[in-house]
């Protein structure tokens, strides 16, 4: 079933009776070539690219809940490629290019909106750091524009430019960044994978990983045992539990990150605006809700909900940056479980067990990585060597100290990112 403008028009005129489910709901078969644990954005895109680029189709994606029910439906939908360090820089650049062709690729409206991402700075030092980052982005082939105060004011006149603690000095503008409809990304990849023969098995929780003589042989699940030649773990915040089934301890601690949305308003915020010094960022959804968030609650948590002190902090930051927001009413708030790595950068690598692959450590930046993470993880699983855009996401970099990617320069240590 292909989507097109004509199809939407025809269905609209004939009572919308022709639409069908976008993917099957199969029972798991007893054996697959490849099993992907985790049906989030990363797991679904992994399955999609395994089928699309490597010609494999005897694949199952096992999801313990339902498609779109985890972090892929809990994030703030921001897409960007504004990293500074080698490793991250080429990877997110690769991801943004995939985003730009995603709707045509998937024949699915993921509402990709390149409205621009604007990072604000509030001191000379921060502006110098932005200039350096902007140069790194441009050198990578992506776009970056360093704005002075007047330039920021032209884009976002509604901010408080003269806050006593954080006067706005300028900004780093990344025009190709923006937002995408998160659920549609999951649905589009699920549909694309399913259409290429991948079984997407929902309500199927992995309870064990079978290993024989140092080689993975399959998984135990709440819906029975499934044999597999290769298994990929892509479970974000639950990485610690699933890896433990294979006897591994990971350099990951799971934390809670909250997000908020207001009632629907008329268009007021045209970009993604980030206020790093206040741990605050905001955009406006196409429905009109102001979608915003802050920093981690900063304690290990699997609760998928946060506590009030961080909510208060985020609201204060919002009022500091843009007092106009005070009249908006918050509709809901929620939390997602973040798989925090020591250096703040992800892991896409083999494990010490043959046939078992690991994708985790996305911290609070997993959504923008969805296309490239799946693309590179599929490459690793299919060809047993890393994709050129993801060669540095090694699991052993913490043990060896070689190749750490610490964007914030705070050290490769838990609780600092």
């Amino acid at each position: 079933m292909r989507f097109s403008g004509l199809r939407v028009l025809t269905e609209g005129l004939t009572g919308n009776r022709g639409w069908r489910p976008h993917w099957r709901d199969p029972d798991p078969r007893p054996e697959y070539d490849i099993v992907i644990i985790g049906g989030g954005g990363h797991g679904l895109s992994t399955a999609y690219y395994l089928a699309r680029e490597h010609g494999l189709s005897n694949i199952a994606v096992l999801e313990k809940g339902y498609i779109g029910g985890g972090n892929v439906g809990r994030n703030t939908t921001i897409v960007r490629a504004n990293y500074g360090l080698p490793g991250n820089s080429e990877f997110y650049s690769h991801s943004l290019k995939l985003w730009e062709g995603l709707e045509q690729e998937l024949n699915y409206n993921v509402m990709m909106s390149q409205r621009g991402v604007l990072n604000l700075c509030h001191s000379d030092g921060q502006r110098d750091a932005f200039a350096r980052r902007a140069n790194a982005m441009v050198n990578q082939g992506d776009d970056a524009i360093l704005l002075d105060r007047a330039g920021v004011r032209r884009l976002v006149p509604y901010l408080d430019f003269d806050n006593i603690r954080f006067p706005i000095y300028g900004g780093l503008y990344h025009p190709r960044g923006g937002t995408a409809r998160h659920d549609a990304v999951a649905w589009g990849y699920a549909r694309g994978a399913d259409g290429r023969g991948v079984d997407i098995v929902q309500n199927c929780e992995v309870t064990g990983i079978d290993i024989d003589n140092g080689r993975v042989t399959g998984v135990q699940t709440s819906r029975g045992a499934i044999r597999a030649k290769k298994v990929g773990i892509v479970v974000a915040g639950r990485s610690g539990q699933v890896a433990a089934m294979a006897g591994m301890r990971l350099p990951v601690e799971s934390h809670i990150l909250q997000a908020f949305v207001t009632e629907g308003l008329k268009p007021v915020i045209d970009h993604v605006v980030t206020f790093g010094m206040g741990h605050f960022y905001i955009s406006q959804s196409d429905k009109g809700g102001l979608v915003f968030g802050g920093d981690l609650d900063f304690y290990a948590s699997y609760a998928q909900r946060g506590n009030l002190p961080m909510q208060e902090h985020v609201m204060e930051a919002a009022m500091t940056l843009m007092p106009v927001i005070g009249k908006a009413r918050v509709l809901r708030s929620w939390g997602g479980i973040m798989d925090m790595s020591p250096d703040g950068s992800p892991i896409i690598d083999r494990t010490h067990i043959d046939g078992l692959y690991l994708n985790c450590g996305w911290c609070y930046g997993g959504f923008k990585a969805v296309p490239a993470s799946g693309n590179c993880f599929a490459h690793l699983i299919a060809q047993d060597r890393p994709h050129p855009a993801a060669t540095r996401f090694r699991l052993d970099r913490f043990r060896t100290g070689v190749g750490l990617m610490d964007e914030e320069g705070t050290g490769a240590q838990h609780n600092l990112h």
Partner: protein, 90 residues
């Protein structure tokens, strides 16, 4: 969340800083080898459920605490002074 500080009594978490899992108290011997130090510095059990972690009562008495709590329910079940745990049954 409130934390029962053994010195100050039940206090709001805003008075505390979280400093990671209490395995930080189990510092390996300097000559324990790279694997032991990697495990200590980077790798975590990362439990979903009961855990023990370190909190610093910076806006209270200044004590380091080992807090027993649940990472799924956010229930806090106890707190001990870290100095009484360190080198003991940690």
């Amino acid at each position: 969340m409130r934390i029962p500080c053994p010195i100050c009594g039940s206090r709001d978490i805003r008075e505390f800083d979280y400093m990671g899992h209490a395995q930080a108290l189990d510092r390996p011997d300097p000559g324990a080898g790279a694997q032991a130090w990697d495990d200590y510095l980077h790798n975590r059990d990362n439990p979903a459920g009961p855990t023990r972690d370190l909190w610093f009562h910076g806006m209270g008495c200044g004590a380091w605490l080992v807090v027993e709590r649940d990472t799924v329910s956010h229930e806090v079940t106890g707190a001990t002074l870290a100095r009484d745990v360190k080198g003991g049954a940690a």
